[in-house]
Amino acid sequence: MLLQNRIMLTVMAIALMASLYLIFIVVPTDVNLGVSQRIFYIHVPLAVLSLIPPLIVFTTSAMYLSSKASKWDRIAHSSVEVGLLFTTLALITGSIWARPTWGVWWTWDPVLTTFLMLWLVYLGYLLIRSYSTDPDRRARFSAIVGILGSVNALAVYLASELWRTIHPGKVIGPAAEENALDPSIQLGILVSFIAIFLLFAYSIIFRARLHATVDQIASLRSQLDDLSHDTNH
């Protein structure tokens, strides 16, 4: 396990360094968007990967409700934590890019609205966990919030796509890079994507393991309490 961890961390660190080198040294400055376009190499992978946690949360929450196996709850919880981090970073990096390009920090585009909504759902999920005292109830309630929240994020996207077409959503997608001819740009995107994906996957695995350890300690502690209670009598 330790060796596996070290290999994963080393690969991730190398990929992150390589992507930073490509973004700041190798990749040419965009003719139209200028230096601000460099944030895309971070923003796009963050935003795309933010869409994976809802799928994981929906599946694992449904698995938890049907099987009551705590591992599904731990995976859902970890995905929400990482999802919240990635969504926050995607919103911040997107905003930093939007200000010089669109002239505003925020616009009510379907994609942006969906991300803000996802962010709220993740916060709600973590809040209901922290406010529920009973562990079984905590897992059940958060699974319910996870399922409805994931479905809702999709509904918000569809709703705002149907009713609020201020401008094409593809503008903030990877469409800007598709026109670029420079192969170093394509390499930059690819390496950033791999690096940030490794960070994403590793964070979820690491958090899920950590939650498993915390649960194990709690159960050992309660066993110890029971034992000392028995000896006292």
Binding site: M117, Y131, T133, I144, L148, N152, A159, R164
Partner: protein
């Protein structure tokens, strides 16, 4: 099947009877709504075009409903929780989804009653035609979805440490799609849009509300599985 419907109606009837006898919720919600409309009048200046007035008023009316629905659904479970009625309900030999549907129906009745005050009042105060059949066709499915999601989240948050704080955090984002759809359909209806474009909006709203209520009914049985 007949027993199932009787169970649902008994549960909703109990809540409605309680409210008719005490009138606690109706009075406070109406006071809050009037106060909100007074504040909102600053957002709707007389000089702007009718289109702006329509779109702003539609938003104001649905924002009022969002806040009113929060109070209604929270109240419907707080009274149960505080008077240990909920324990009695869960011990009743009725399916969990009958409890859920009973609560949804009583909350739906309360919300429709509030709307029957809010809509005429807004029509008078802001001089807009809110009392039409099209608006009713928008309001009923939207209110069902709000009551459906609200009932599930209120049942859950009442069983936690910080119920008043937690409910809006869970409930408001959950009903955002319905509120957005309702505002948009109301704006279109006020602007005189008719035919397939408007009915498509109402259709989407109905599908969304039924989907949320059905999912919530299934999830409610898990939430109360103790």
């Amino acid at each position: 099947m007949k027993t199932y419907f009787t169970q649902i109606l008994t549960i909703s009837g109990k809540d409605i009877r309680l409210e008719i006898r005490t009138r606690q919720m109706a009075v406070s919600v109406i006071v809050i709504i009037v106060a909100l409309l007074v504040v909102a009048n600053l957002a709707i200046p007389n000089t702007t075009t009718t289109t702006t007035v329509y779109s702003t008023t539609a938003t104001v009316v649905w924002l009022c409903m969002l806040i009113a629905s929060f109070l209604v659904v929270m109240r419907s479970f707080i009274i149960e929780h505080d008077q240990i009625g909920f324990q009695g309900l869960t011990m009743c030999p009725v399916p969990r989804d009958a409890i859920y549907l009973g609560k949804v129906i009583s909350n739906l009745v309360f919300l429709l009653a509030i709307e029957s005050v809010l809509f005429p009042l807004s029509s008078i105060l802001f001089n807009i035609p809110l009392l039409t059949l099209t608006i009713v066709a928008i309001t009923v499915p939207a209110t069902l979805g709000i009551a459906g999601a609200g009932t599930l989240f209120a049942a859950m948050s009442v069983n936690t440490k910080a119920r008043e704080i937690l409910l809006p955090v869970l409930f408001f984002p959950a009903v955002i799609p319905i509120i957005l759809a309702a505002i948009d359909a109301t704006q279109r209806a006020l602007q005189g849009t008719t035919g397939s474009a408007l009915w498509q909006d109402i259709g989407v709203l109905a599908v969304l509300s039924i989907a949320i209520t059905t999912t919530s009914a299934i999830l409610f049985t898990f939430a109360m599985d103790e």
